[in-house]
């Protein structure tokens, strides 16, 4: 990576490869009546693929079977930028020319953009403990709030990319930028009607994922494969940034409503929470995102009477999917906003309130899970508060607020947030996955790790050999890691949910321990001294449930996660009182990740996640018109630069989890949960206004400061503008035909 040698998908050379492109819808909801090939073009130079060319089922296999690989003629287009047809040619300019000669004949249908108005539900979950209604009625004070969050783009710097190679045996090998080789493998088997061996998936070096390369790569792999099977050549499907932002999944927008009941002496006695997520046009991973969001919506606080209802609705917008945090950043932003507003209502410090309410060992969560061990909420809270001198700064900004005259130009504030994040798959997820990971002693006496867990910058390929070397008592350099190729490695599940270090890392440690035991028993000497004489073998370790109460998917009770990670953050901001621009000056993050395997990598996760959360809080917003992303370029969808970013101070806290042999709980997603509420609390501390909608843009802050109407809610598309009719006097004279005006925003050409 440092020398430029690492091969990402677009760096791979396949002689004779063709270039593929996708023909996409330009309407949010329509019936597809026909795909028309203009006969002025020489179609022998290209291949065109439609739904008719799909040998298997026209389904991108995931949770629900609702999403087609390509919309068939007669079928429904359900969102903008939906894939309808594919084209490939030997060079880019021919592809570009061909796509100009393909037309879609459609009949427009009414579109739904607001999840609150949708009548199609993807999923609903209810979490209930105690009697929230009765406790609410008996509470001394009730605090209510509605919070909204918009889309967020993963914005990995490497765009989505996939190259499909047809093989002589009739199979296809895809090389690509991806997180989950076996998701793609399964999708290929179904849509291409292939057996296990025919579909082969190999991960190229991957330039960031953050969830964005969890499910969408299945779609691109199928598109590239279909073209490759038709033209009998390797086909490159390399998205440019514009196509990537237009078509791929985003973080789910959500509306979250709270009613919290508290007593005069400051106890939280009741919580009624409603979570509504916008899934977009197809199900993708929405039920799982909603599930995690619902389970985390109460925040990391003790409360005996809780009722949380989560619903995910369909709209005619591009499907939303996985993004670091997976539903929890949305609901925990809301939960933390609510806690801060309760603290304000009670006249208490937000730090004090959290000290009293945060879960301790032995407390019970809304699903009835008893937190038996590895509960680091208090520790991270105290660590972040101390390192940032939270109380001192809060005192200072209160004094500054008092003194501030009407001519003040700048206000500073400090904000705090606390969160929990379930480690690994939700509920019974890991049991259903039944992941396998292996450690092998090869014929030529090498030690090799076999997992499908992918490296995308977070450090899998560094920590896995480290864990196995430690377990075997050998040097780090003696352990290799097999390529993430479905024809070589077992299905160790997807690389998501911060599960890699905890779950798969645990499996390879157990496999290594078993390998060591066998070899040492046979040779009578230490593994390190004797493994080169031992017979080759491979130890497969399959996931076994962690101890605890099994989760019941029907009642939503039991242990929702084997353990939780805990995170606290303190943000210090400056708000320009003229422009309402927010600068995050300093950021302290404290995270309990169980056990630190590699300090530099773990800090890197915390710092990177924190900045994504700061972007989510302040500048990252997708605007939609007619169900289409308006700012679908890097020039218009902004992420923090080095100048926007504060120096991030990370503190790693270790409260080991005994269910994992190394005690680690996962780190990737944790920091994403606390950044946004910490920043918005700091904005409040500076200005005295609460911003209920994310991102807290200057427009929203100014509206709040001046008591003006808020800009439109985040995440909800505006209707299509009425086509403008030119005023009469502008009509060309002479009775000529009125020239067709190009639409203000023409359908974009997706090819460079």
């Amino acid at each position: 990576k440092l020398t430029g040698v690492a091969k990402y998908a677009d760096d791979l050379v396949f002689p004779g490869a063709w270039y593929g492109a996708t023909i996409r819808s330009t309407e949010p909801h329509a019936r597809l009546l026909g795909i028309e090939l203009d006969d002025t073009f020489d179609w022998s130079r290209v291949v065109v693929v439609t739904a008719d060319d799909i040998p298997g089922e026209n389904i991108v296999s995931l949770i629900d079977d609702d999403q087609p690989v390509l919309v068939p003629v007669g079928g429904e287009i359900k969102h903008q930028a939906e894939a309808v047809a594919l084209v490939a040619a030997a060079d880019r300019s021919t592809v570009r020319e061909a796509r100009r000669h393909i037309g879609l004949r459609t009949e427009r249908l009414p579109a739904v953009f607001d999840p609150m108005k949708s009548d199609q539900q993807f999923a609903q979950y209810v979490v209930e403990r105690g009697d929230a209604a009765a406790a609410m009625a008996a509470a001394d004070q009730i605090v209510e709030g509605t919070y909204r969050v918009g889309h967020q783009e993963q914005l990995y710097i490497e765009n989505q990319a996939m190259i499909a190679m047809p093989r002589e045996d009739g199979g296809v090998t895809v090389h690509g930028s991806l997180q989950c080789p076996y998701y793609i493998h399964k999708a290929m088997k179904r849509a291409l009607a292939m057996g296990d061996e025919l579909a082969v998936v190999i991960q190229a070096e991957t330039g960031g994922g953050f969830g964005g390369k969890e499910e969408y790569p299945s779609m691109i792999a199928l598109h590239a494969s279909l073209l490759a099977l038709k033209c009998h050549k390797p086909v490159r499907m390399i998205y440019d940034r514009h196509e990537d932002i237009s078509a791929t999944t985003k973080r789910h927008p959500a509306v979250i409503r709270y009613r919290s009941g508290v007593t005069h002496d400051g106890e939280l006695v009741a919580q009624e929470i409603e979570v509504i997520m916008d899934g977009g046009a197809y199900c993708t991973l929405t039920p799982v995102v909603l599930s995690r969001g619902t389970l985390h919506a109460g925040g990391p606080y003790r409360c005996g009477n809780v009722r949380i209802v989560g619903r995910a609705m369909a709209t005619n917008t591009p499907p939303n999917g996985a993004f670091r945090g997976f539903g929890a950043p949305q609901t925990e932003f809301a939960a933390e906003m609510q806690i801060n507003r309760i603290a304000e209502a009670l006249g208490e410090s937000p730090l004090e309130l959290r000290r009293r309410w945060v879960y301790e060992e032995g407390d019970v969560t809304p699903t009835g899970q008893v937190l038996r061990e590895s509960v680091g909420g208090s520790e991270v809270l105290e660590a972040a508060a101390e390192a940032s001198a939270f109380d001192t700064h809060r005192q200072r900004s209160a004094e500054a607020r008092e003194r501030r005259g009407s001519g003040a130009r700048l206000a500073s504030g400090v904000g705090l947030a606390l969160a929990w994040h379930g480690a690994g798959f939700t509920g019974s997820g890991e049991v259903h996955l039944a992941s396998v990971a292996s450690v092998e002693l090869t014929d030529d006496h090498r030690i090799r790790i076999l997992t499908a867990s992918t490296e995308m910058g977070q450090g899998t390929k560094t920590i896995f050999p480290q864990l196995v070397a430690d377990a075997l008592g050998v040097e780090y350099d003696e352990v290799e890691i097999a390529p993430q190729d479905t024809s070589i490695v077992p299905d160790s599940g997807p690389t998501v949910a911060s599960r890699t270090a905890m779950v798969v890392g645990g499996l390879i440690i157990k496999a290594a321990q078993e390998l060591r035991r066998q070899v040492e028993e046979e040779t009578g000497r230490s593994f390190a001294d004797s493994y080169r004489e031992a017979a080759p073998r491979r130890i497969d370790e399959q996931f076994r449930p962690y101890p605890g109460e099994p989760f019941d998917d029907k009642t939503y009770t039991g242990d929702a996660y084997p353990a939780f990670g805990w995170a606290a953050a303190v943000a210090k901001v400056d708000v320009d009182l003229d422009t309402a621009e927010v600068t995050v000056r300093e950021f302290v993050a404290a995270d309990d990740i169980g056990h630190v395997i590699h300090p530099v990598l773990a800090e890197g996760q915390v710092e990177g996640g924190s900045l994504q959360a700061i972007g989510y809080a302040t500048i990252e917003e997708m605007k939609l018109v007619d169900g289409r992303y308006l700012n679908d370029r890097l020039a218009t969808y902004l992420i923090p630069t080095a100048l926007d970013a504060p120096r991030i101070h990370s503190i790693l806290v270790e409260k080991p989890f005994s269910g994992a042999p190394h005690g680690a709980k996962g780190v990737g997603e944790l920091p994403m949960d606390v950044g946004a509420p910490a920043v918005v609390a700091a904005i409040h501390d500076a200005t005295g206004v609460w911003i209920h909608d994310l991102p807290a843009t200057p427009e929203r802050i100014l509206a709040a400061l001046t008591n003006s109407p808020m800009p439109s809610a985040p995440g909800v598309s505006m209707e299509a503008p009425e086509p403008e009719t030119p005023p009469i006097e502008d009509l060309p004279a002479g009775g000529d035909e009125i020239p067709l005006q190009a639409p203000t925003d023409p359908p974009q050409d997706f090819i460079k």
Binding site: L2, G4, G207, G459, G604, R633, I639, L643
Partner: protein, 146 residues
Amino acid sequence: MTYRFTVNGDPVEADVPGMRRLLDTLREDLGLTGTKEGCGEGECGACSVLVDGEVVDACLVPTCQVEGSSVQTVEGLAADGRLNLLQAAFLETGGAQCGICTPGMLMAGEAFLASRAHASDEAIREAIAGNLCRCTGYTKIVEAIA
């Protein structure tokens, strides 16, 4: 049209259309795929290279413009199989995660170090403000350059 310039000190001749992006000439004609494309419109800096010592986005520079110039890419940083000082610093501090912004970040960092400006936090951040990174939060990159 044939353009002559040097890449990492070696003279090259590129027989390409003058308006071909330097990025494509480097990646596809010269096989130097260390320089990455992230956006194709000069926003992300993943394609940063040095032209006569100046950091430029290779996606915005037509090949005809580098006629007679000296182009430096990430491939030219390590010598005799050994990382240069900045690369080694990135490795040590964890300045590279997914690695896709790293080549461009290294080139921007090299230009900053060559300018001999005082390596304050602010100055380094200014120097790499045109290079987006989504993994690291920049903290460790700034440390590596300092």
